[in-house]
Symmetry: C2
Subunit: 289 residues, 2 copies
Protein backbone atom coordinates (compact mmCIF):
# COMPACT_ATOMS: atom_id res chain seq x y z
CA UNK A 1 0.00 0.00 0.00
CA UNK A 2 1.64 3.21 -1.13
CA UNK A 3 0.25 6.55 -0.12
CA UNK A 4 0.18 8.93 -3.01
CA UNK A 5 -0.52 12.49 -2.10
CA UNK A 6 0.87 14.73 -4.83
CA UNK A 7 0.02 18.41 -5.16
CA UNK A 8 -3.75 18.30 -4.77
CA UNK A 9 -5.01 17.13 -1.39
CA UNK A 10 -6.60 18.09 1.90
CA UNK A 11 -4.14 19.03 4.66
CA UNK A 12 -5.32 19.01 8.26
CA UNK A 13 -3.38 20.66 11.09
CA UNK A 14 -5.15 18.63 13.77
CA UNK A 15 -4.44 19.72 17.30
CA UNK A 16 -5.73 18.86 20.74
CA UNK A 17 -8.64 21.31 20.80
CA UNK A 18 -8.90 22.69 17.24
CA UNK A 19 -8.17 21.73 13.69
CA UNK A 20 -7.60 23.64 10.48
CA UNK A 21 -8.25 22.23 7.04
CA UNK A 22 -6.41 23.47 3.95
CA UNK A 23 -7.67 22.60 0.49
CA UNK A 24 -4.57 22.41 -1.69
CA UNK A 25 -4.83 22.36 -5.49
CA UNK A 26 -1.75 22.10 -7.66
CA UNK A 27 0.48 23.10 -4.77
CA UNK A 28 -1.53 26.14 -3.70
CA UNK A 29 -3.95 26.73 -0.87
CA UNK A 30 -7.34 27.55 -2.36
CA UNK A 31 -9.52 27.37 0.74
CA UNK A 32 -9.17 26.95 4.51
CA UNK A 33 -11.60 26.14 7.30
CA UNK A 34 -11.21 25.93 11.05
CA UNK A 35 -13.35 24.17 13.64
CA UNK A 36 -13.30 22.97 17.24
CA UNK A 37 -13.01 19.27 16.35
CA UNK A 38 -9.65 18.74 18.05
CA UNK A 39 -8.58 15.17 18.78
CA UNK A 40 -10.02 15.21 22.28
CA UNK A 41 -13.53 15.81 20.92
CA UNK A 42 -13.45 13.20 18.14
CA UNK A 43 -14.29 9.55 18.82
CA UNK A 44 -14.75 8.19 15.31
CA UNK A 45 -11.82 9.33 13.20
CA UNK A 46 -12.80 7.47 10.00
CA UNK A 47 -16.22 9.15 10.11
CA UNK A 48 -14.66 12.52 10.86
CA UNK A 49 -12.26 12.19 7.93
CA UNK A 50 -15.08 11.07 5.63
CA UNK A 51 -17.07 14.13 6.66
CA UNK A 52 -14.12 16.39 5.81
CA UNK A 53 -13.91 14.81 2.34
CA UNK A 54 -17.65 15.21 1.87
CA UNK A 55 -17.35 18.88 2.71
CA UNK A 56 -14.06 19.84 1.06
CA UNK A 57 -13.58 17.36 -1.77
CA UNK A 58 -12.87 13.65 -2.19
CA UNK A 59 -9.09 14.05 -2.20
CA UNK A 60 -6.00 12.44 -0.66
CA UNK A 61 -5.37 13.65 2.90
CA UNK A 62 -2.31 14.50 4.96
CA UNK A 63 -2.90 14.88 8.69
CA UNK A 64 -0.42 16.46 11.09
CA UNK A 65 -0.25 17.21 14.80
CA UNK A 66 -1.80 15.49 17.80
CA UNK A 67 -3.97 13.34 15.53
CA UNK A 68 -0.85 11.16 15.36
CA UNK A 69 -0.36 10.93 19.12
CA UNK A 70 -1.64 8.42 21.65
CA UNK A 71 -4.61 10.71 22.32
CA UNK A 72 -5.35 10.98 18.56
CA UNK A 73 -6.39 8.60 15.82
CA UNK A 74 -3.34 6.36 15.78
CA UNK A 75 0.22 6.93 17.11
CA UNK A 76 2.56 7.86 14.28
CA UNK A 77 6.07 6.84 15.36
CA UNK A 78 8.64 9.58 15.78
CA UNK A 79 11.33 9.99 13.12
CA UNK A 80 14.76 10.44 14.71
CA UNK A 81 16.59 13.67 14.02
CA UNK A 82 18.22 14.63 11.72
CA UNK A 83 14.95 14.88 9.81
CA UNK A 84 13.88 17.00 6.86
CA UNK A 85 10.92 16.96 4.49
CA UNK A 86 12.16 13.73 2.84
CA UNK A 87 12.44 11.89 6.17
CA UNK A 88 8.96 13.01 7.22
CA UNK A 89 7.54 11.91 3.87
CA UNK A 90 9.29 8.55 4.16
CA UNK A 91 7.98 8.12 7.70
CA UNK A 92 4.30 8.79 6.99
CA UNK A 93 1.92 6.56 8.90
CA UNK A 94 -0.24 5.18 6.15
CA UNK A 95 -3.86 4.71 7.20
CA UNK A 96 -5.05 3.74 3.70
CA UNK A 97 -4.01 4.41 0.10
CA UNK A 98 -5.14 8.04 0.25
CA UNK A 99 -4.73 8.98 3.92
CA UNK A 100 -1.58 9.45 5.95
CA UNK A 101 -0.40 10.99 9.21
CA UNK A 102 2.84 12.96 9.41
CA UNK A 103 5.26 11.55 12.02
CA UNK A 104 6.72 13.60 14.86
CA UNK A 105 10.46 14.02 15.39
CA UNK A 106 12.51 12.82 18.36
CA UNK A 107 16.00 13.08 19.78
CA UNK A 108 17.26 10.42 22.17
CA UNK A 109 19.87 12.06 24.43
CA UNK A 110 18.57 14.02 26.16
CA UNK A 111 15.11 12.71 25.35
CA UNK A 112 12.91 15.17 23.48
CA UNK A 113 9.96 15.00 21.12
CA UNK A 114 7.90 17.23 18.84
CA UNK A 115 4.65 16.55 17.01
CA UNK A 116 3.16 19.16 14.71
CA UNK A 117 5.91 21.75 15.09
CA UNK A 118 8.13 19.92 12.59
CA UNK A 119 5.83 20.77 9.65
CA UNK A 120 5.88 24.46 10.54
CA UNK A 121 9.64 24.64 11.08
CA UNK A 122 10.53 22.83 7.88
CA UNK A 123 7.83 24.75 6.07
CA UNK A 124 9.41 28.01 7.17
CA UNK A 125 12.58 26.88 5.41
CA UNK A 126 10.61 25.85 2.30
CA UNK A 127 8.88 29.24 2.24
CA UNK A 128 12.21 31.04 2.49
CA UNK A 129 11.27 32.57 5.85
CA UNK A 130 14.28 31.16 7.71
CA UNK A 131 17.74 30.02 6.50
CA UNK A 132 18.55 26.35 6.01
CA UNK A 133 21.08 26.63 8.84
CA UNK A 134 19.49 28.41 11.76
CA UNK A 135 18.17 28.36 15.30
CA UNK A 136 14.36 28.52 15.14
CA UNK A 137 12.15 29.20 18.17
CA UNK A 138 8.49 28.31 18.58
CA UNK A 139 7.39 29.94 21.84
CA UNK A 140 4.36 28.68 23.72
CA UNK A 141 3.34 26.40 26.56
CA UNK A 142 6.22 24.14 25.61
CA UNK A 143 8.76 26.26 23.79
CA UNK A 144 10.72 24.52 21.04
CA UNK A 145 14.26 25.61 20.14
CA UNK A 146 15.15 23.87 16.89
CA UNK A 147 18.58 23.59 15.27
CA UNK A 148 18.41 23.44 11.48
CA UNK A 149 21.35 22.37 9.33
CA UNK A 150 21.10 21.91 5.59
CA UNK A 151 17.36 22.46 5.85
CA UNK A 152 16.87 19.54 8.24
CA UNK A 153 16.08 19.40 11.95
CA UNK A 154 19.32 18.20 13.54
CA UNK A 155 18.35 18.66 17.17
CA UNK A 156 15.98 20.53 19.44
CA UNK A 157 15.15 21.33 23.03
CA UNK A 158 11.70 21.79 24.54
CA UNK A 159 11.33 23.96 27.62
CA UNK A 160 8.17 24.08 29.76
CA UNK A 161 8.56 27.84 30.00
CA UNK A 162 4.98 28.80 29.25
CA UNK A 163 3.54 26.02 31.38
CA UNK A 164 5.64 26.98 34.40
CA UNK A 165 4.53 30.59 34.05
CA UNK A 166 0.89 29.51 33.89
CA UNK A 167 1.30 27.22 36.94
CA UNK A 168 2.92 29.99 38.97
CA UNK A 169 0.31 32.50 37.92
CA UNK A 170 -2.57 30.24 38.90
CA UNK A 171 -1.39 28.29 41.94
CA UNK A 172 0.92 28.68 44.89
CA UNK A 173 2.78 31.41 46.72
CA UNK A 174 3.36 33.84 43.85
CA UNK A 175 -0.06 33.67 42.17
CA UNK A 176 -1.40 36.74 43.99
CA UNK A 177 1.59 38.79 42.81
CA UNK A 178 1.56 37.78 39.15
CA UNK A 179 -1.67 39.34 37.91
CA UNK A 180 0.04 42.27 36.17
CA UNK A 181 0.62 42.87 32.49
CA UNK A 182 3.69 41.43 30.78
CA UNK A 183 5.49 43.82 28.45
CA UNK A 184 9.14 43.79 27.37
CA UNK A 185 10.12 46.78 29.53
CA UNK A 186 12.55 47.33 32.40
CA UNK A 187 11.01 44.75 34.76
CA UNK A 188 11.04 42.11 32.01
CA UNK A 189 14.69 42.88 31.25
CA UNK A 190 15.58 42.70 34.95
CA UNK A 191 13.99 39.24 34.93
CA UNK A 192 16.05 38.20 31.90
CA UNK A 193 19.21 39.33 33.72
CA UNK A 194 18.19 37.27 36.76
CA UNK A 195 17.39 34.34 34.43
CA UNK A 196 21.02 34.31 33.32
CA UNK A 197 21.88 32.81 36.72
CA UNK A 198 19.93 29.70 35.75
CA UNK A 199 18.82 29.25 39.36
CA UNK A 200 15.07 29.27 38.84
CA UNK A 201 13.78 27.92 42.18
CA UNK A 202 15.76 30.55 44.09
CA UNK A 203 15.04 33.41 41.68
CA UNK A 204 11.31 32.70 41.98
CA UNK A 205 11.39 33.05 45.76
CA UNK A 206 13.18 36.35 45.20
CA UNK A 207 9.94 37.67 43.69
CA UNK A 208 8.26 37.13 47.05
CA UNK A 209 11.19 38.55 48.99
CA UNK A 210 11.41 41.66 46.79
CA UNK A 211 7.79 42.40 47.62
CA UNK A 212 8.26 41.88 51.36
CA UNK A 213 11.33 44.15 51.34
CA UNK A 214 9.55 46.81 49.28
CA UNK A 215 12.00 46.46 46.38
CA UNK A 216 9.51 45.83 43.57
CA UNK A 217 5.89 46.74 43.02
CA UNK A 218 3.58 43.84 42.24
CA UNK A 219 2.53 45.64 39.05
CA UNK A 220 5.99 44.67 37.73
CA UNK A 221 6.17 41.17 39.19
CA UNK A 222 4.53 39.34 36.28
CA UNK A 223 6.82 40.98 33.74
CA UNK A 224 9.84 40.13 35.91
CA UNK A 225 8.71 36.51 36.27
CA UNK A 226 8.13 36.22 32.52
CA UNK A 227 11.58 37.66 31.86
CA UNK A 228 13.09 35.27 34.38
CA UNK A 229 11.55 32.22 32.72
CA UNK A 230 12.10 33.27 29.11
CA UNK A 231 15.55 34.64 29.92
CA UNK A 232 16.65 31.44 31.63
CA UNK A 233 15.37 29.43 28.69
CA UNK A 234 17.03 31.68 26.10
CA UNK A 235 20.32 31.86 28.00
CA UNK A 236 20.55 28.06 28.22
CA UNK A 237 19.77 27.65 24.53
CA UNK A 238 22.05 30.39 23.20
CA UNK A 239 24.91 28.98 25.31
CA UNK A 240 24.50 25.64 23.54
CA UNK A 241 23.72 26.76 19.99
CA UNK A 242 26.19 27.30 17.15
CA UNK A 243 24.05 30.31 16.24
CA UNK A 244 23.69 33.68 17.89
CA UNK A 245 20.67 34.59 15.80
CA UNK A 246 17.23 33.20 16.64
CA UNK A 247 14.31 33.06 14.18
CA UNK A 248 11.17 33.32 16.24
CA UNK A 249 7.94 31.90 14.83
CA UNK A 250 5.23 33.56 16.88
CA UNK A 251 2.63 36.27 17.13
CA UNK A 252 4.06 39.73 17.84
CA UNK A 253 3.07 39.75 21.54
CA UNK A 254 4.66 36.52 22.74
CA UNK A 255 7.27 36.68 19.98
CA UNK A 256 8.15 40.21 21.06
CA UNK A 257 9.09 38.94 24.52
CA UNK A 258 11.44 36.35 23.03
CA UNK A 259 12.95 38.98 20.73
CA UNK A 260 13.58 41.22 23.74
CA UNK A 261 15.15 38.39 25.76
CA UNK A 262 17.43 37.18 22.95
CA UNK A 263 18.58 40.71 22.17
CA UNK A 264 19.17 41.52 25.84
CA UNK A 265 21.36 38.40 26.03
CA UNK A 266 23.45 39.65 23.12
CA UNK A 267 21.89 37.59 20.34
CA UNK A 268 20.10 38.69 17.21
CA UNK A 269 16.40 37.95 16.91
CA UNK A 270 14.08 37.88 13.90
CA UNK A 271 10.33 37.71 14.39
CA UNK A 272 8.83 35.61 11.60
CA UNK A 273 5.18 35.62 10.58
CA UNK A 274 4.51 31.89 10.61
CA UNK A 275 1.15 31.80 8.88
CA UNK A 276 2.56 30.54 5.58
CA UNK A 277 4.93 28.04 7.23
CA UNK A 278 2.57 25.13 7.91
CA UNK A 279 1.13 25.09 4.39
CA UNK A 280 4.58 25.37 2.79
CA UNK A 281 5.68 22.40 4.89
CA UNK A 282 2.71 20.18 4.21
CA UNK A 283 2.78 20.95 0.47
CA UNK A 284 6.46 19.97 0.39
CA UNK A 285 5.66 16.69 2.17
CA UNK A 286 2.84 16.05 -0.30
CA UNK A 287 5.24 16.59 -3.19
CA UNK A 288 7.67 14.08 -1.71
CA UNK A 289 5.14 11.33 -1.18
Amino acid sequence: MVVSIGDTFLAVDWGTTNRRVFVIEQGRVVRTARDGQGVTSVDDFPASVAALRAEHGDLPMLLAGMVGSNIGWRPAPYVSAPAGIAELAAGLLRIDARTAIVPGVSVDHPADVMRGEEVQVLGAVEAGLVPRDALVVQPGTHCKWVELAGGRITGFTTAMTGELFALLRTHGLLAAQLGGEVTPGDAFRAGVEEGRKRDLAASLFGIRAAKLLGQRDDADAAAFASGLLIGGDAAARLAKSRHDAAYILADPVLGGLYVAAVEYLGGTAYLIDSHAAFTAGIIAIGNHS
Copy 2:
Protein backbone atom coordinates in the same frame (compact mmCIF):
# COMPACT_ATOMS: atom_id res chain seq x y z
CA MET B 1 9.40 50.18 77.60
CA VAL B 2 11.98 47.43 77.90
CA VAL B 3 11.07 43.82 77.40
CA SER B 4 12.64 41.63 80.00
CA ILE B 5 12.44 37.94 79.27
CA GLY B 6 15.19 36.21 81.18
CA ASP B 7 15.36 32.46 81.66
CA THR B 8 11.80 31.71 82.69
CA PHE B 9 9.16 32.40 80.08
CA LEU B 10 6.73 30.95 77.54
CA ALA B 11 8.12 30.46 74.04
CA VAL B 12 5.73 30.06 71.13
CA ASP B 13 6.80 28.75 67.73
CA TRP B 14 3.76 30.22 65.99
CA GLY B 15 3.36 29.17 62.39
CA THR B 16 0.72 29.57 59.72
CA THR B 17 -1.38 26.53 60.62
CA ASN B 18 0.00 25.26 63.95
CA ARG B 19 1.76 26.53 67.03
CA ARG B 20 3.87 24.93 69.71
CA VAL B 21 4.25 26.30 73.22
CA PHE B 22 7.33 25.64 75.37
CA VAL B 23 7.27 26.38 79.07
CA ILE B 24 10.83 27.36 79.97
CA GLU B 25 11.98 27.52 83.59
CA GLN B 26 15.51 28.57 84.47
CA GLY B 27 16.67 27.96 80.92
CA ARG B 28 15.15 24.49 80.55
CA VAL B 29 12.05 23.26 78.78
CA VAL B 30 9.73 21.76 81.37
CA ARG B 31 6.59 21.31 79.31
CA THR B 32 5.42 21.62 75.71
CA ALA B 33 2.02 21.74 74.05
CA ARG B 34 0.93 21.85 70.41
CA ASP B 35 -2.36 22.99 68.88
CA GLY B 36 -3.90 24.02 65.58
CA GLN B 37 -4.16 27.71 66.44
CA GLY B 38 -1.85 28.92 63.68
CA VAL B 39 -1.96 32.60 62.76
CA THR B 40 -4.54 32.09 60.03
CA SER B 41 -7.07 30.76 62.54
CA VAL B 42 -6.54 33.46 65.20
CA ASP B 43 -8.40 36.80 65.04
CA ASP B 44 -7.82 38.18 68.53
CA PHE B 45 -4.13 37.81 69.35
CA PRO B 46 -4.26 39.57 72.76
CA ALA B 47 -6.99 37.16 73.84
CA SER B 48 -5.12 34.19 72.43
CA VAL B 49 -1.94 35.18 74.28
CA ALA B 50 -3.89 35.74 77.51
CA ALA B 51 -5.38 32.28 77.16
CA LEU B 52 -1.90 30.77 76.78
CA ARG B 53 -0.78 32.51 79.97
CA ALA B 54 -3.90 31.31 81.79
CA GLU B 55 -3.11 27.75 80.72
CA HIS B 56 0.68 27.62 81.01
CA GLY B 57 1.59 30.30 83.57
CA ASP B 58 1.56 34.09 83.83
CA LEU B 59 5.07 34.53 82.44
CA PRO B 60 6.92 36.72 79.94
CA MET B 61 6.45 35.51 76.37
CA LEU B 62 8.65 35.27 73.27
CA LEU B 63 6.82 34.61 70.03
CA ALA B 64 8.53 33.51 66.82
CA GLY B 65 7.48 32.66 63.28
CA MET B 66 4.59 33.85 61.13
CA VAL B 67 3.00 35.56 64.15
CA GLY B 68 5.37 38.40 63.25
CA SER B 69 4.38 38.56 59.58
CA ASN B 70 1.73 40.61 57.81
CA ILE B 71 -0.68 37.69 58.18
CA GLY B 72 0.09 37.44 61.93
CA TRP B 73 -0.36 39.65 64.97
CA ARG B 74 1.92 42.49 63.97
CA PRO B 75 4.76 42.67 61.39
CA ALA B 76 8.14 42.42 63.13
CA PRO B 77 10.68 44.14 60.86
CA TYR B 78 13.47 42.02 59.41
CA VAL B 79 16.96 42.34 60.86
CA SER B 80 19.57 42.59 58.09
CA ALA B 81 22.19 39.86 57.93
CA PRO B 82 24.72 39.40 59.43
CA ALA B 83 22.54 38.51 62.38
CA GLY B 84 23.10 36.34 65.45
CA ILE B 85 21.31 35.84 68.72
CA ALA B 86 22.32 39.33 69.94
CA GLU B 87 20.95 41.05 66.82
CA LEU B 88 17.65 39.12 67.08
CA ALA B 89 17.36 40.03 70.77
CA ALA B 90 18.11 43.69 70.00
CA GLY B 91 15.51 43.66 67.21
CA LEU B 92 12.61 42.21 69.19
CA LEU B 93 9.23 43.77 68.41
CA ARG B 94 7.99 44.78 71.84
CA ILE B 95 4.24 44.36 72.18
CA ASP B 96 4.23 45.21 75.88
CA ALA B 97 6.64 44.95 78.83
CA ARG B 98 6.39 41.16 78.97
CA THR B 99 5.60 40.16 75.38
CA ALA B 100 7.83 40.33 72.32
CA ILE B 101 8.02 38.93 68.78
CA VAL B 102 11.32 37.71 67.32
CA PRO B 103 12.21 39.52 64.06
CA GLY B 104 12.95 37.74 60.80
CA VAL B 105 16.22 38.11 58.91
CA SER B 106 16.70 39.61 55.46
CA VAL B 107 19.38 40.05 52.82
CA ASP B 108 19.03 42.82 50.25
CA HIS B 109 20.91 41.68 47.12
CA PRO B 110 19.52 39.43 45.92
CA ALA B 111 16.41 39.99 48.01
CA ASP B 112 15.67 37.18 50.46
CA VAL B 113 13.86 36.80 53.76
CA MET B 114 13.34 34.26 56.53
CA ARG B 115 10.94 34.29 59.44
CA GLY B 116 11.00 31.51 62.02
CA GLU B 117 13.93 29.59 60.54
CA GLU B 118 16.46 31.97 62.14
CA VAL B 119 15.64 30.76 65.67
CA GLN B 120 16.16 27.14 64.67
CA VAL B 121 19.41 27.77 62.76
CA LEU B 122 21.00 29.88 65.47
CA GLY B 123 19.67 27.50 68.10
CA ALA B 124 21.38 24.61 66.33
CA VAL B 125 24.65 26.48 66.83
CA GLU B 126 23.81 27.20 70.49
CA ALA B 127 23.01 23.53 71.03
CA GLY B 128 26.32 22.50 69.49
CA LEU B 129 24.56 20.64 66.67
CA VAL B 130 26.29 22.58 63.89
CA PRO B 131 29.59 24.50 63.78
CA ARG B 132 29.70 28.28 64.08
CA ASP B 133 31.01 28.43 60.50
CA ALA B 134 28.87 26.22 58.30
CA LEU B 135 26.35 25.82 55.51
CA VAL B 136 23.00 24.84 57.07
CA VAL B 137 20.04 23.56 55.07
CA GLN B 138 16.37 23.60 56.10
CA PRO B 139 14.52 21.62 53.41
CA GLY B 140 10.81 22.11 52.84
CA THR B 141 8.33 23.99 50.70
CA HIS B 142 10.79 26.88 50.60
CA CYS B 143 14.23 25.44 51.25
CA LYS B 144 16.65 27.68 53.14
CA TRP B 145 20.42 27.44 52.61
CA VAL B 146 22.05 29.47 55.35
CA GLU B 147 25.68 30.57 55.60
CA LEU B 148 26.91 30.84 59.18
CA ALA B 149 30.13 32.62 60.12
CA GLY B 150 31.18 33.19 63.70
CA GLY B 151 27.84 31.83 64.85
CA ARG B 152 25.87 34.47 62.93
CA ILE B 153 23.74 34.24 59.79
CA THR B 154 25.82 36.05 57.15
CA GLY B 155 23.69 35.24 54.13
CA PHE B 156 21.12 32.79 52.83
CA THR B 157 19.20 31.67 49.78
CA THR B 158 15.63 30.42 49.65
CA ALA B 159 14.62 28.07 46.83
CA MET B 160 11.00 27.19 46.03
CA THR B 161 12.08 23.59 45.50
CA GLY B 162 9.33 21.91 47.49
CA GLU B 163 6.63 24.22 46.19
CA LEU B 164 7.63 23.61 42.56
CA PHE B 165 7.53 19.85 43.14
CA ALA B 166 4.07 20.12 44.69
CA LEU B 167 2.81 22.31 41.81
CA LEU B 168 4.12 19.89 39.21
CA ARG B 169 2.69 16.91 41.05
CA THR B 170 -0.76 18.45 41.30
CA HIS B 171 -1.23 20.48 38.12
CA GLY B 172 -0.17 20.48 34.51
CA LEU B 173 1.42 18.14 32.01
CA LEU B 174 3.55 16.02 34.34
CA ALA B 175 1.04 15.51 37.18
CA ALA B 176 -0.17 12.15 35.87
CA GLN B 177 3.41 10.85 35.75
CA LEU B 178 4.53 11.98 39.21
CA GLY B 179 2.42 9.81 41.49
CA GLY B 180 5.23 7.39 42.34
CA GLU B 181 7.27 7.10 45.52
CA VAL B 182 10.36 9.25 46.02
CA THR B 183 13.37 7.41 47.40
CA PRO B 184 17.07 8.26 47.04
CA GLY B 185 17.78 5.48 44.54
CA ASP B 186 19.03 5.36 40.96
CA ALA B 187 16.20 7.43 39.46
CA PHE B 188 16.68 10.13 42.11
CA ARG B 189 20.42 10.22 41.42
CA ALA B 190 19.80 10.43 37.66
CA GLY B 191 17.62 13.45 38.43
CA VAL B 192 20.38 15.04 40.51
CA GLU B 193 22.80 14.55 37.61
CA GLU B 194 20.31 16.21 35.25
CA GLY B 195 19.81 18.98 37.82
CA ARG B 196 23.49 19.86 37.50
CA LYS B 197 22.69 21.36 34.10
CA ARG B 198 20.59 24.01 35.85
CA ASP B 199 18.16 24.05 32.94
CA LEU B 200 14.98 23.23 34.82
CA ALA B 201 12.28 24.13 32.27
CA ALA B 202 13.92 21.91 29.65
CA SER B 203 14.79 19.07 32.03
CA LEU B 204 11.16 18.93 33.17
CA PHE B 205 9.90 18.45 29.62
CA GLY B 206 12.44 15.67 29.34
CA ILE B 207 10.36 13.72 31.89
CA ARG B 208 7.49 13.75 29.41
CA ALA B 209 9.71 12.92 26.46
CA ALA B 210 11.42 10.02 28.28
CA LYS B 211 8.00 8.48 28.82
CA LEU B 212 6.91 8.92 25.19
CA LEU B 213 10.18 7.40 23.97
CA GLY B 214 9.94 4.50 26.44
CA GLN B 215 13.15 5.49 28.23
CA ARG B 216 11.80 5.69 31.78
CA ASP B 217 8.93 4.03 33.61
CA ASP B 218 6.51 6.38 35.32
CA ALA B 219 7.15 4.54 38.59
CA ASP B 220 10.55 6.29 38.57
CA ALA B 221 9.41 9.68 37.30
CA ALA B 222 8.61 11.24 40.69
CA ALA B 223 11.99 10.25 42.14
CA PHE B 224 13.71 11.63 39.03
CA ALA B 225 11.77 14.91 39.27
CA SER B 226 12.57 15.21 42.96
CA GLY B 227 16.25 14.60 42.24
CA LEU B 228 16.15 17.14 39.43
CA LEU B 229 14.72 19.86 41.68
CA ILE B 230 16.79 19.11 44.78
CA GLY B 231 19.89 18.50 42.69
CA GLY B 232 19.55 21.78 40.83
CA ASP B 233 19.05 23.58 44.11
CA ALA B 234 22.00 21.88 45.81
CA ALA B 235 24.30 22.33 42.80
CA ALA B 236 23.61 26.07 42.68
CA ARG B 237 24.18 26.46 46.41
CA LEU B 238 27.34 24.34 46.66
CA ALA B 239 28.81 26.25 43.72
CA LYS B 240 28.36 29.50 45.63
CA SER B 241 29.22 28.39 49.17
CA ARG B 242 32.62 28.53 50.87
CA HIS B 243 31.73 25.16 52.38
CA ASP B 244 31.52 21.71 50.83
CA ALA B 245 29.75 20.26 53.87
CA ALA B 246 26.05 20.83 54.44
CA TYR B 247 24.31 20.43 57.81
CA ILE B 248 20.75 19.41 57.05
CA LEU B 249 18.07 20.15 59.63
CA ALA B 250 15.21 17.85 58.66
CA ASP B 251 13.37 14.64 59.28
CA PRO B 252 15.13 11.53 57.95
CA VAL B 253 12.87 11.14 54.90
CA LEU B 254 13.16 14.60 53.32
CA GLY B 255 16.56 15.12 54.90
CA GLY B 256 17.74 11.84 53.42
CA LEU B 257 17.01 13.12 49.92
CA TYR B 258 19.13 16.21 50.54
CA VAL B 259 21.91 14.08 51.98
CA ALA B 260 21.86 11.90 48.86
CA ALA B 261 21.90 14.93 46.54
CA VAL B 262 24.74 16.72 48.35
CA GLU B 263 26.84 13.56 48.48
CA TYR B 264 26.19 12.74 44.82
CA LEU B 265 27.40 16.25 43.97
CA GLY B 266 30.65 15.62 45.83
CA GLY B 267 29.84 17.40 49.08
CA THR B 268 29.63 16.07 52.61
CA ALA B 269 26.24 16.00 54.30
CA TYR B 270 25.25 15.69 57.95
CA LEU B 271 21.66 15.02 58.91
CA ILE B 272 20.86 16.88 62.13
CA ASP B 273 17.95 16.11 64.42
CA SER B 274 16.52 19.59 64.79
CA HIS B 275 14.11 19.04 67.66
CA ALA B 276 16.36 20.69 70.23
CA ALA B 277 17.34 23.57 67.94
CA PHE B 278 14.32 25.86 68.29
CA THR B 279 14.31 25.75 72.09
CA ALA B 280 18.08 26.31 72.30
CA GLY B 281 17.64 29.37 70.07
CA ILE B 282 14.72 30.90 71.87
CA ILE B 283 16.34 30.32 75.29
CA ALA B 284 19.46 32.12 74.05
CA ILE B 285 17.35 35.05 72.83
CA GLY B 286 15.58 35.16 76.21
CA ASN B 287 18.93 35.28 77.97
CA HIS B 288 20.00 38.22 75.80
CA SER B 289 16.91 40.31 76.36
